[in-house]
Symmetry: C2
Subunit: 200 residues, 2 copies
């Protein structure tokens, strides 16, 4: 209360915001601690008063993202069920796309971070599996209802997740690709729903 200058209001928050901007501009891996502090108008040393490392900061951003509306990048979905219903599927795709877009800085950072971690080569697959958990369950429901799927629910779910995240990463960073969000969502919905053969 009564604080005029916001400069020192909350440095941690300022650093987080600056970091997000940098992640979009330069990518996570290319962003240095000094880029973040400079963008936030703080000194280098101040960073470590609030975060132990760049990865630590990312984990906090990730936690914030997960807190918000329990929305996992690819898990969020509206009412739900019956992915073979065009409206439902479209809503699902739109939710995933919009979530990705709304949290682009963190999505970018997590993606790059996962790639760069050469330690555990299977980590990306694991993250893909966990991030598409609810999607897999929906597919398993479908299968139980006697519908035939293109393949193992886990594999299909992972494929859909890979498609969304990968295309999203490439497309959302290139702001001049020339496709509107709506067009992307519509196209992906149709592709996932009826494939290349079309509905008929």
């Amino acid at each position: 209360m009564g604080v005029r200058k916001e400069r020192s209001a909350d440095t941690a928050a300022a650093l987080k915001e600056a970091a997000k901007r940098q992640f979009v501009e330069r990518g996570y891996l290319n962003t240095k601690i000094t880029d973040i502090t400079a963008a936030a108008g703080r000194a280098t040393g101040s960073f470590y008063e609030h975060f132990a490392s760049k990865d630590d900061l990312l984990r906090e951003l990730e936690a914030e993202l997960h807190e918000q509306a329990g929305a996992g990048i690819l898990e969020q979905h509206p009412a739900d069920h019956d992915l073979t219903n065009p409206e439902h599927l479209r809503a699902h795709v739109a939710a995933a796309w919009n979530t990705m877009q709304a949290n682009l800085p963190v999505v970018i950072a997590l993606y790059e971070s996962a790639i760069a971690t050469g330690e555990d080569p299977g980590r990306l697959w694991q993250e893909l599996v966990t991030s598409t958990g609810t999607l897999r369950e929906h597919l398993e429901d479908l299968r139980r209802q006697g519908r035939s799927l293109p393949g193992d629910p886990q594999l299909v779910a992972a494929a859909m997740g890979a498609l969304l995240s990968s295309l999203g990463y490439a497309l959302l960073r290139a702001d001049d690709a020339g496709f509107s969000d709506e067009e992307v969502i519509d196209t992906l919905t149709r592709l996932l729903l009826t494939g290349l053969s079309g509905a008929e």
Copy 2:
């Protein structure tokens, strides 16, 4: 001729082979020059007698890959045409998958290198566009024949490419995912052909 010891036969080739092995084991970004030279049984300094940098080495590997049978990662395809024919599509998917697998070290390296280059944020999208060029042409052919596609050929082609490369990267590095190549190829074929709704 008449050389007994192969050790000094061709250091450049030895370094390339060692690099490929390291790229698979540790990932490209995590592989240090010293990892490569050590794996090749050479001294650190020798590396620079043959390559200007790690990126330079990667570009040579990339060139080699492109020389072989003019096979772009996702461009290779058999006879061709009519992607709505199950056998043709499957052959196409299989070719892409097998090419990716056969050149896994370079695929991994190029992928990680593209991600890490925060300089040009649109580079990944550009690479996606160029690597799916022939696929896009096929789709345009289909459209000219009056068939309805899920969306713009460029966007659909890019989506397919993103699906293949991203899932391939995740899956081929995790050797314990539990899916055979055949199962993956079959599943992707069906997903791309008829989507979640199935053929009927």
